[in-house]
Symmetry: C2
Subunit: 495 residues, 2 copies
């Protein structure tokens, strides 16, 4: 067997083990009785240890070197690159550090969960200190192994090929634009976009029915996936068996519905990855920015367009058996496009959301480099919030302690939310140009032309290209902040 | 670290990997969308391969030898014995044979599923031939590795310590007794036990409610388990996270209810295993006969007793909102204790069930030894059915092709059903003597005294003793066919 073939077999095996973990992770959030968390933890730890053994096997390094001389081309060559990248990430950190970091982040997430509602920064920071210290160590180790700056070395795991230099450029342009734009959009909203709260009942069973109707219409394959309920919605499972979740709020159905559409975007990406490369590194989704672009393509672009409302609103009214003035198109749309200066990222609208993200990006870079001390986090956060979004946290639980990312040791992930939003805008802009029937199709509830385009230009490409290359190939140009700005202006200023 | 400690860690890891497989197996039967079976198969194969690597690691053999000199006692000594037995079973078969057998049984089960409804013996036997040949090879290999007769070597995996010599003795006595007894019981039934079909509706939602009520009353811990629906009811998961299933038949609620009680018996055993030995071979349930004794203790002994009916029938009537003559105690009881000469094992009552099992035991021993050829299976089966149960299959799908065991390569398992039934009778007989309040307790719906006894005498003993030792310790004497016969006589002849 060739060295490359050995690698293919090995990574297929690792993928299956990780796939098993993904299914158990889904089960833990949806089906598992509470008392089983200890047993489940042991199962997941055992699988993680086995996957780690398999990927740090020194034979892999030899196979990689040998495979480089095998004259691979196209997908195979790209697969070998991804294999090497994955191998380097896995082997960059000493086993002790991985084990210690796992323990520390598990502890810190736990502490955070209890400390946040009590605004207990002392408890949080005591648990976060060793986490940050070890993430710093990890970033230095990865920096050496990958030949990247420490922050970029972390970022590379979530978004290969993206660098903080690029992000600085995108975010610089956005930061120049957004604060004033928020003010403009709020003025415009106050003058032109008042709306009344939607009236009538939207019971959970009907919300579930509605979500499934839209999923089916969008092309979600229930033969290869399902939807359930969890405390925090997510898209889990594996390509070929996608498990997405939502939660239902009887007094605000759009939260659940947009959540379902968002996770369906993630799911369609996973389901659309090329079957022939399943289980191989090159067959995986291309990083978290691209993944977020697929969820936001549905949630924020397509499914908040007038064309989508023309299709969806009659379905919504019929499913709930509601009607009257508050359910007229204009009022409904305004209720879904409300802009607000808020404290909480996960509740933010698409205009203010990037400001939340960019603030975190600046602070986490400073935390990683040591320019910002944990003791000074709150002051820095509040100061940035005031400047950027114009509000100051009423309490620290609604401030720098609100997200689970840092307590989990996740630094380098936040930017992908906003890069994803920008990609989504650029993809939708391209679809509008390249799929002439899109508007008619969508109004009729036919999404096949749009997904055909997404499949061909994004999903089927998997990890064949880097994120920047993929964007350029799909949209004809590099990621362009102007497209996103234009989208916001059109939608929120009626421009 | 001592050699024994190394073994403990290794077997804990193997147990976690197998536990992960068990959860995925449950998911495949209850939650997984059909299209995902291929991906799931790859995940399960990867986990099986990893578990196999871990258990065939040559280091284990050295650790076992070294640990034997460490002066272990009690549970640790028993654990070392179980570790060695598990290791020997896993290492008895060459890897090639395991892989080939897995493929052949997977194919044969698949072929069987399609061939049975079509009575296609030709297709079945073609697929079964290589399976039988490899099981014969496996039995010889295990025979050499374990120092047991070939059939006993297979049996040892399902019921350690049980031998075909012992089973021959038990089954000989039962076979002498049962055929005539069936005739007597049927006569008695015809003369004294006519009943009317239960009237009224028993919708699925109410059946589910009822099942959960009884599970709760029996002490099932929903914080460490759950119940769902599957095509074939089973008790899956792991101790600490038990997943049982049932199916609902709106026109015959007792099928589902007795199924729930049966699986709850299995579940209570798993949940009652000693927590401090979880993940170790000695901490596992003591074989399939003992496991079946726990399900039949509920299904056939306790939950078909007059004392249980006194508690359960009012609950059943109230839950369904039914009443009238057909729901009076005597009529209800007769409907649940009906004896019948039938063709199908899984539909058989407790009187004829052992005859189905003993027939299979005789035939599978003959198939394994080569005394019976596959081509002669049907004739032998029909002949035995006529002699033993007094009915002849109308078609082969209701005859020698009815069970999934043989197509799955499972030989040596069937006897455990009837050994389990005998153990159940003997345990309940002992409970009646040793738990003076049992009858009053049960009539009040309080099962704590009975489960306290089962926990102490069976569940908490896990695999500390062999099955025969465990029976003797719990009931004060070796397994005794007379107890089972007496139970049948009392229940079915009113003796």
């Amino acid at each position: 067997m060739s060295a490359y073939r050995q690698l293919v077999d090995r990574f297929k095996q690792i993928s299956s083990i990780r796939g098993a973990s993904a299914m158990l992770g889904w089960d833990a959030e949806t089906m598992m009785p509470d008392g089983a968390s200890g047993v489940r933890g042991e199962q997941l730890a055992a699988l993680a240890a086995v996957a780690h053994e398999k990927i740090t096997d020194p034979a892999i390094s030899d196979w990689i070197e040998e495979a480089k001389g095998e004259g691979l081309e196209g997908w195979d060559a790209a697969n070998l690159n991804e294999i090497e990248r994955t191998y380097r990430h896995a082997n960059a950190l000493p086993a002790d550090l991985v084990a210690e970091l796992t323990k520390a982040t598990s502890n810190c997430s736990h502490v955070w969960q209890a400390a946040r509602p009590k605004d207990d920064f002392e408890a949080f920071s005591a648990a976060f200190e060793p986490v940050l210290k070890m993430v710093q160590e990890a970033s230095v180790a990865k920096s050496e192994a990958l030949g990247l700056d420490p922050y970029d070395a972390l970022l590379d795991e979530y978004d290969p090929g993206m660098t903080s230099a690029q992000i600085d450029e995108y975010f610089g342009a956005l930061q120049d634009f957004l604060p004033d734009f928020v003010t403009e959009a709020l003025d415009y909203q106050e003058k032109n976009r008042s709306f009344s709260a939607l009236e009538g009942e939207t019971p959970t069973a009907k919300q579930e029915e509605l979500g499934k109707k839209f999923m089916t219409a969008l092309g979600f394959d229930f033969n290869h996936g399902r939807i359930d309920v969890s405390a925090h919605p997510f898209c889990g499972g594996v390509p070929g068996d996608v498990r997405l979740t939502t939660r239902y709020n009887e007094t605000e159905f759009s939260q659940s519905l947009q959540g379902v559409l968002h996770e369906t975007g993630h799911a369609m990406y996973e389901l659309g990855l090329p079957e022939e490369w399943r289980g191989q590194p090159v067959g995986q989704a291309r990083g978290m920015s691209m993944h977020e672009s697929q969820s936001l393509f549905l949630d924020m672009q397509l499914c908040r367009s007038d064309e989508f409302f023309a299709y969806s609103l009659p379905v919504i009214r019929e499913t709930f058996g509601v009607g009257g003035e508050t359910w007229e198109a204009e009022n409904f749309k305004r209720s879904l496009l409300k802009v607000e200066r808020g404290l909480i990222r996960v509740d933010a609208d698409e205009v203010t959301y990037p400001l939340h993200v960019m603030l975190r990006y600046r602070l986490e870079k400073a935390l990683l480099s040591g320019d910002l001390q944990i003791a000074d986090m709150e002051a820095a956060w509040n100061d940035e919030m005031k400047k950027s979004i114009g509000v100051v946290p009423d309490r620290i639980g609604n401030g720098c302690m609100q997200d689970i990312h840092w307590p989990s040791g996740i630094i380098g992930y936040f930017p992908t939310y906003t890069i994803g939003a920008m990609i989504a805008a650029q993809l939708f802009d391209t679809v509008k140009n390249q799929v002439p029937t899109w508007a008619d199709d969508v109004q009729k509830g036919d999404f096949s032309s749009i997904f055909k385009w997404l499949r061909e230009n994004v999903h089927h490409k998997a990890s064949l290209y880097s994120t920047p290359e993929l964007i350029t190939q799909a949209t004809g140009k590099p990621l362009d902040v102007e497209v996103f700005k234009k989208h916001l202006q059109t939608r929120y200023l009626g421009a």
